[in-house]
C-alpha cells in the first residue's frame, strides 16, 4: 500500500517535472518572439495622448470603414478594391520575425533587421501598384525597407530646425507643406513665408485637391462629406496651406540613382536651410564645411515629406501613391486633436502640463486638416453626383502589426496570426505548408487505424514436433543392426550378458535367415535398396 502511494507520488512528480520543462521551453520560445512593451503607442485603437484614436474616429465619422492589420501586410494582397483603400503605417517599432522566404531572385533568405520581409514589401508595392494609397509615418523605426522600395531613405538621425515651437522645445518642429520652407518671425511662423500645397492648390495645373474643386460651393454640412472640415458658414472654404507640427523627427533622402517602384517622386515639404542633423547622436551639433570627426553632424535643408505617385497628376483614379513623412507621431492625439489635449475643462487624453499649469500646450496646427485632406483625396467618390462623399468601398487600414502590445495574450495572438498569414501568404511557407498538409494526410492514412472489429477466433492449432535429426540416424545400417540384434535378444528371452557371450554360430542359427545373419555378423556397406530389403526382412522376422 505504502509502495503504491510512493509510486503515485513519484509519477505525479515526474509529470510535474516534465510539464515544467515543457513550459520553460515554450516560454523561452515565446520570449524570443513576443515583445511585451510598456510603451504601447501610435495605435489607432488606443486613446492615450500618444495614440491615434482621434484620427481613426474622424475617419469613422466620415462614414469610412476602418480596419486594423495585426498580422502582416501580406494580407494587402487580398484587398478587393485597392483603389478605394488607404493603408496607414505609423511607427514601425518592431522588426519582423526572421523566417525563411523567397527573395526577388527566387533564393531562400531569412529577413532580419528590415522591419518588413521582402514578401511584405512586395505586398505593399503591389497594393500601391494596384491603385492603393499608402501613408508611412516613421522616424527611427523599421520603415526604411518600404521607403527603399521607392528610392527614399529614412536617415534615422534626429533633425533640428530653427522652425521649432519655442514654448515647447526644440523637438517640436513646424513643417509647411509647400515647395519652399516657411520661416519664423519671433516665436511664430512668419505669415509671409507661408505658401500653399503646390499640387493640391491647383498651382501646378493638375492634381488639385477634390475639396478645392468644391471651394465656394454652398451646401449644408451633411453634404460636405469628406470636405466637412473645410465647411464654414454654409459653404466650402478650401485653403491649401498646411503648417504641420512634428515631434522628434528625422530626415528623408532620395537615394541617388535608384528608381523606385513609382516613377513620379516629389518632395512635398522641406526644412529650413539652417536645419541640422545630429549624426553621432551625442545631443550636440558640430557642423563644418565638411564632415569629419571634429564636425560629424550635417546642416542644410532636408526633406520631411516625400510623395511617390504612378502619374504626375497623382490622381488616385490613374494609379496608386505613397507618402512618407519623417515623423511617426504626426497624427498622435496630442497634436492631431490639440484642442482636446489642451482643454482644461475636459481633457480627453489625461492630465498634462497644459491642463494643470497652462504650460507646454500644443499650438494650433494643420495636422488634422492635412490628414483629412489626404484621406479625402484618396477615398472621395469620383462618380457624378457623389461629389464630396466617400466611395462605396472606402476603407482605411491601420497597420498594427509592428506595434508591441502590452498584454501577453494580445502579442501572442498577433504573433500567431502573423505566422498564419506567413504560412498562407509567403511562397516558401506555402510550399512548406503544402508539404506539412501532405505529410499530415499521409500520417493519418498510414498511422491512424480504426479499432478492429471484435471477432472471436477459434484457434487450437498446435503441432508437437519430435526431433527430426534422429530420422537420418535411424536410417543408418549400424542402428538398424542394433535394433535387429535387440529384437533377436528379446525374442529369445536372453539377457544382455547371455547375448553378448553367445558364439556367432549360435547367433546364426537363432536368426535362421542367411541374409539377416550375414547382415548381423558381417558389417559391410549396403545400398539403399538393400537396406530397405533388409528392414522389411527384419520386420517379418520372428512372426512365425
Amino acid at each position: 500500500m505504502l509502495d503504491e502511494l510512493n509510486l503515485n507520488y513519484r509519477r505525479i512528480g515526474l509529470q510535474a517535472a516534465f510539464w515544467s520543462v515543457m513550459m520553460i521551453l515554450l516560454l523561452s520560445i515565446l520570449v524570443n518572439f513576443v515583445n511585451i512593451s510598456n510603451t504601447n503607442q501610435l495605435s489607432a485603437y488606443d486613446n492615450d495622448w500618444n495614440d491615434m484614436s482621434a484620427f481613426r474616429q474622424d475617419i469613422k465619422d466620415l462614414g469610412i470603414q476602418t480596419n486594423s492589420l495585426v498580422s502582416s501586410p501580406l494580407l494587402l494582397a487580398d484587398i478587393e478594391d485597392p483603389r478605394n483603400t488607404t493603408y496607414i503605417l505609423a511607427g514601425v517599432e518592431r522588426d519582423t520575425l526572421s523566417l525563411p522566404q523567397f527573395d526577388s531572385d527566387g533564393f531562400i533568405t531569412i529577413a532580419s533587421e528590415d522591419g518588413y520581409s521582402p514578401s511584405e514589401i512586395d505586398a505593399i508595392v503591389e497594393f500601391v501598384d494596384a491603385g492603393g494609397t499608402a501613408l508611412v509615418l516613421d522616424d527611427y523605426g523599421f520603415a526604411g525597407s518600404i521607403a527603399q522600395a521607392y528610392g527614399v531613405r529614412y536617415t534615422g538621425y534626429q533633425l533640428f530646425d530653427t522652425t521649432y515651437v519655442q514654448e515647447l522645445d526644440y523637438n517640436y518642429i513646424w513643417m509647411c507643406i509647400q515647395a519652399t520652407p516657411c520661416g519664423m518671425n519671433g516665436t511664430s511662423i512668419d505669415p509671409t513665408t507661408i505658401s500653399v500645397h503646390e499640387r493640391w492648390s491647383g498651382a501646378s495645373g493638375e492634381g488639385a485637391h477634390p475639396c478645392s474643386l468644391m471651394n465656394g460651393q454652398s451646401m449644408p454640412l451633411e453634404d460636405a462629406g469628406l470636405c466637412a472640415h473645410h465647411w464654414n458658414n454654409g459653404e466650402i472654404e478650401y485653403n491649401a496651406t498646411y503648417q504641420m507640427l512634428l515631434n522628434n523627427i528625422t530626415a528623408l533622402e532620395l537615394i541617388p540613382g535608384v528608381n523606385g517602384a513609382l516613377s513620379e517622386v516629389s518632395i512635398l515639404a522641406v526644412t529650413s536651410n539652417e536645419a541640422t542633423v545630429d549624426v553621432n547622436g551625442d545631443g550636440e551639433i558640430w557642423v563644418g564645411n565638411e564632415v569629419n570627426s571634429e564636425t560629424p553632424d550635417l546642416w542644410g535643408q532636408f526633406n520631411l515629406t516625400v510623395e511617390a505617385c504612378a502619374r504626375k497628376s497623382c490622381d488616385p483614379n490613374e494609379g496608386g501613391r505613397i507618402v512618407f513623412i519623417a515623423d511617426g507621431s504626426a497624427l498622435i492625439n496630442a497634436i492631431y486633436d490639440y484642442e482636446g489635449f489642451n482643454d482644461p475643462n475636459n481633457p480627453l487624453y489625461g492630465t498634462n502640463n497644459c491642463v494643470t499649469n497652462n504650460t507646454k500646450c500644443i499650438p494650433e496646427n494643420d495636422n488634422r486638416k492635412w490628414a483629412l485632406d489626404f484621406i479625402a483625396e484618396a477615398l472621395m467618390s469620383s462618380k457624378i453626383g457623389e461629389e464630396g462623399q466617400p466611395s462605396e468601398n472606402a476603407m482605411v487600414i491601420f497597420d498594427e502589426s509592428r506595434h508591441p502590445q502590452n498584454a501577453l495574450l494580445a502579442d501572442s495572438y498577433n504573433t500567431v496570426y502573423f505566422l498564419l498569414v506567413y504560412f498562407t501568404g509567403e511562397g516558401l511557407a506555402m510550399l512548406l505548408l503544402f508539404l506539412g498538409l501532405f505529410i499530415a494526410f499521409e500520417a493519418v492514412l498510414i498511422k491512424k487505424r480504426d479499432p478492429e472489429p471484435w471477432r472471436h477466433v477459434f484457434s487450437i492449432i498446435y503441432y508437437g514436433f519430435g526431433d527430426a535429426n534422429r530420422y537420418t540416424y535411424y536410417a543408418k545400417t549400424d542402428k538398424i543392426r542394433q535394433v535387429f540384434l535387440s529384437k533377436v535378444r528379446n525374442q529369445n528371452g536372453l539377457s544382455r550378458e547371455e547375448f553378448h557371450a553367445m558364439p556367432a554360430r549360435e547367433l546364426v542359427s537363432l536368426i535362421n535367415d542367411p541374409v539377416l545373419a550375414k547382415f548381423a555378423i558381417e558389417p559391410s556397406k549396403y545400398s539403399l535398396e538393400q537396406t530397405v530389403a533388409v528392414v522389411k526382412r527384419i520386420k517379418a522376422w520372428g512372426r512365425t
Binding site: 493519418v444 480504426d450 472471436h456 477459434f458 508437437g464 519430435g466
Partner: protein, 417 residues
Amino acid sequence: MWTRKASFTFTGGIALILIGMMIANLQMMILGLTFIAFIVVNSWISGHGDVEVQRTLSADNLYKGDDLYVELLVTNRSNRNTQLLEVYDNIPHEMKLRSGLNQMRLNLKPGESARIRYVLRCPLRGHFSIGPVSLRSRNTFNLGVEEMYVDHHSDIVIFPQIKEVEEAFLRSRTPKMYTGATTLRTPGQGSEFYSLREYVPGDPFKNINWKAFARTGDLMVNEKCRDAVTDLYILLDSRDIARIGTVLKNPLEMGTVSAASLAAFFLKRRDSVALAIFDDNLSYLPPDTGDKQYFKILSALAGVAPKGTMPLQAVTNSLSGRFSRGSPVFIISSCEGDGTVPAAVRDLVGRGHEVTVLSPSSIDFERLVSRIPRMSYEVLKLERQNRLTTLAGSGAMVIDWMPDMDLSQALMQVRGY
C-alpha cells in the same frame, strides 16, 4: 479516441481553411470551418460504458467436447443513454462459438437491460476463464471511440473426456482383483449397517441414531461395515516428450483421457484410486474413493501440461513404498526417451504389483505432424516394439495404443502380450 474518419475530417478541415486562406477562397474556408465545427459538436455528444455486467454459466465444470451455455446481462446503471455501445465478451480462443454471438451493439436507456446468449463448445481440457467484458462506445457519427472493459471473469474447468471401459478388458490374472468393493463383517468406513453403539465424544453428529436416542434416552451412533476396496495406482507420464502430435491427438491428451476413464471406472465400483503425474515434478493424489476423489483426479488431469524429463524409476522409487501390496498399477506413458522404464516396471512387478503399461505410440503421433522417412519410421517402430517386448518380458501387461484406436480397443490388446 478519434476514429480515422474524424482524423480525416479534422485534417481536411484544417487543410481547407489554410488552402482557402492561401487562395483567398471564402467558401473553402467556410467548408473547412464546417468540418471542424462538426467534429467539435460531435465531441460533445458521446456515449459511455457505465454499465453493470453479470454473466451466468450453465456449469462451472464440463467434460471435454461438452457445450457451455453463457448468458450475459448488461444493465445501464447511469442516468443517460449509452449511445452506440459495443459489448464483447472475451472468450478463450480454445473454445468454439457454437451458436449465438458473444457480442452485441446496444443503445441502452437509463436502467435498461439487455441479454447476450451464446453457446460455446469446449474441445480442449484445461482451466479457462471467460472475461473480461470489453466495451466500446461510439458517438453518433462514429467520429470518436472509447474503449474500456468490465473486469468480470468466470472460471471454468474442462475435464478430460470419460470413455466407457468394459470390465472384461480389465480382468486380472489374480483372483478377486478388480472386483470392486466387498463388504467385510468388521466395523469401519463403509456403506452397510453393522451395529449400534454408544456415542463417544468425537463421533460425527450425522452418525447419531435419533430414533434409538428417543427410545433409550442415551446417545447411540450407527456403525457401518468396512468396505474392502482395491487400491488402484495410475502413473501418468506428462513429460515434455508427451506433447508430440496434434492438439487433440498426442500421448498426453490420450493419457489424460485414459487416466480419467480408468479412474471413473474404478471409483464407480467404490475402489480407491491414486493418481501420480510426473513431468518436471511429481504430483501425487493418495488413494481414496468417492466423488470427491473423482473430482480431484479430474481437476488434476484438467491442468496437466507437458514439461520436464522426470524418469519413471524416480517416480516408482518415491512412491512404491506407499503402494498397497499387490495393488494394480497403471503406467500411462509412451516409454520414449526414458531408459529407466524397464527397470522401474521390473521393480514394481517384483514387489508383487499387477503392472499394466498403456503406451500411446508416440512415433505414430509424430507421423501425424511430421513427414518421417519410411525406413526410419520402420526402424523406430521396431525399436519401440523391442522396448514394449522388454516390458512384457518383465511381467507387465503392455498395450501399444495407436492414435486411431479407442481406449476400449486398446485395452483389449492386453492379451496380446
